[in-house]
């Protein structure tokens, strides 16, 4: 633990003596910065996907879990009579907080996105909809269906469960998919940085031998590589995050009709979350490079 603590302290405290040991050029440096940048850019989208899925799942759950709909299809005057009967029935049903019949304007507004505003809706046999809001632990759906069947034969209860469940599951899986993608991106970053660090260590093997010969300890030798790769990764990832945030920011803004894709983004304090990505990438680089350096030095013994 003390070795790790010292290594972390060395990371933030520059040592010109150790930092100059590794030549400042080479493919490894560009590869590290580029990889960190690209991976952080992708990670921003994975994070945005996760957060958007989470918001969507919550929104659907909130919007649907507490409401249900009763649809009344009947001939002419029967509609009004059955609507009255159903509202009366609901008023005495335990677990129902409120119930109201949607007005013609509200029903028209629901259909306009599908049929357009020019369609003569008044000529269509559109059922009357009653919106039911639950309270407490909700109502007994089966019991309510039986009562509706007896008192309003044209009424059908839709408690949303049939399509709410798959939607909630899909959103939840999408959220986990986003987190999984984020983990894979970090793992890939670690793998590529390990490769770059190994290449750098092999290319500078003569330097390692010189340092060994003059009495440098492994931690001192590793420090030069670890610090360089970690800071490069931090810088690359920060750049990637900035680019990712700009890309997310210029996506079309969300609205009620835009659906999921236009909701892909951050809101409020979640705009700060992506800034954890450079730190995570730097931690990955620190661990990967330190492991690679100590492994290489052990092999040279």
């Amino acid at each position: 633990m003390s070795g790790l603590g010292t290594a972390l302290r060395d990371l933030v405290r520059p040592d010109p003596g150790a930092d100059r040991l590794v030549p400042p050029t080479g493919m490894g440096s560009w590869l590290t910065v580029f990889t960190a940048g690209v991976m952080a850019f992708l990670a921003v989208f994975a994070l945005a996907l996760s957060l958007a899925s989470g918001r969507l799942a919550d929104r659907w759950a909130d919007a649907l879990a507490r409401t249900s709909t009763i649809r009344i299809s009947a001939e002419g005057a029967q509609v009004a009579a059955q609507t009255e009967a159903v509202l009366a029935l609901l008023a005495t049903t335990p677990g129902v907080a409120s119930a109201r019949a949607l007005s013609e304007t509200e029903e028209r507004a629901l259909l306009v996105p599908w049929f357009g505003s020019d369609l003569p809706l008044e000529d269509l046999p559109i059922p009357q909809l009653i919106e039911v809001t639950e309270e407490g632990s909700g109502y007994d759906a089966e019991g309510l269906r039986l009562r509706l069947e007896a008192e309003a034969p044209g009424a059908v209860l839709d408690d949303h469960a049939r399509w709410r469940q798959p939607l909630a599951e899909a959103a939840s899986r999408l959220r986990f998919l986003g987190w999984g993608a984020l983990l894979l991106i970090l793992a890939t970053t670690g793998a590529i940085i390990t490769l770059a660090a190994n290449a750098s260590l092999s290319a500078n093997e003569s330097i390692l031998k010189v340092l060994r010969q003059i009495g440098a300890q492994d931690a001192y030798i590793a420090r030069a590589f670890v610090r360089r790769f970690t800071l490069r990764t931090l810088g690359g990832a920060a750049t990637g995050v900035v680019c990712g945030l700009i890309a997310v920011w210029i996506l079309p803004s969300g609205d009620t009709t835009g659906g999921f894709l236009t909701g892909l983004g951050f809101s409020g304090s979640s705009w700060l979350l992506p800034w954890l990505l450079p730190v995570l990438c730097a931690i990955v680089a620190f661990v990967a490079t330190r492991a690679a350096a100590f492994r290489k030095l052990a092999e040279m013994t």
Binding site: I214, G215, A216, A219
Partner: protein
């Protein structure tokens, strides 16, 4: 200072050294001779733990090299100066930075005046800012010597240090090593240059060890 106890070393193909018993007392001056491939460089590397014996014990500063661990060995190496025939440097650093490297790795900063004196001692003052690839063979050997002595080590090991030098420069390097010995340093030089050994014997009480058939023996009076 350095002791070999029944030491053997084998590469994949067979035993290069076997049954080596050797003791270097503090302040002693030894040459190590033998034909090419006899194991001179290997023996030197065994002294400071770059190679580990396949049999027997190598004791450095009263401690078995095999039991000190990598960090312990690193600390011991700070007390050993090494000059190799093929001197390696950090080519992206200046000669001065390379010479002070042993101080840097222990967190010390060299006194600029001491560095200047040291570079003057090895005749490299004018090349302090040069990069190692710009140096000739002899200059590299002298830079390696300066790097080896900057921490004032107790032991100096040199592997064919005059291999790339003309006779005049060889004598100059030998004089530097003799001066170090007079300061109490233990010196071991691997060489096949008999003229160098004869020249040294006129300045210092040097003993000559010879590797023959994988074993180390004291060379006779013919030297």
């Amino acid at each position: 200072m350095i002791a070999f106890e029944n030491v053997a070393y084998s590469y994949g193909g067979g035993e290069l050294l076997s049954g080596v018993d050797l003791t270097l007392q503090p302040g002693s001056f030894h040459f190590l001779t033998g034909p090419s491939g006899a194991g001179k460089s290997t023996l030197l590397k065994l002294c400071y733990g770059e190679l580990l014996s396949t049999k027997g014990r190598v004791v450095l500063f009263d401690r078995d090299i095999r039991g000190v661990g990598r960090d312990g060995l690193a600390r011991m190496r700070r007390r050993v100066g090494v000059v190799q025939q093929d001197c390696q440097f950090l080519d992206h650093l200046s000669v001065a930075a390379n010479v002070t490297l042993p101080l840097s790795v222990t967190g010390r900063e060299g006194d600029p005046q001491d560095l200047s004196d040291l570079l003057g001692w090895v005749g490299l003052t004018h090349l302090a800012g040069a990069r190692p690839p710009q140096l000739s063979g002899g200059e590299r050997q002298r830079a390696a010597l300066a790097r080896a002595v900057i921490t004032s080590p107790d032991v100096m090991l040199a592997d064919e240090p005059t291999g790339n030098l003309d006779w005049e420069m060889s004598l100059r390097l030998l004089t530097l090593l003799v001066e170090l010995n007079r300061m109490g340093k233990t010196i071991l030089i691997a060489t096949h240059d008999m003229n160098l050994i004869r020249a040294a014997k006129t300045q210092v009480a040097a003993r000559v060890l010879r590797i023959k058939g994988g074993r180390v023996e004291l060379a006779g009076a013919e030297l």
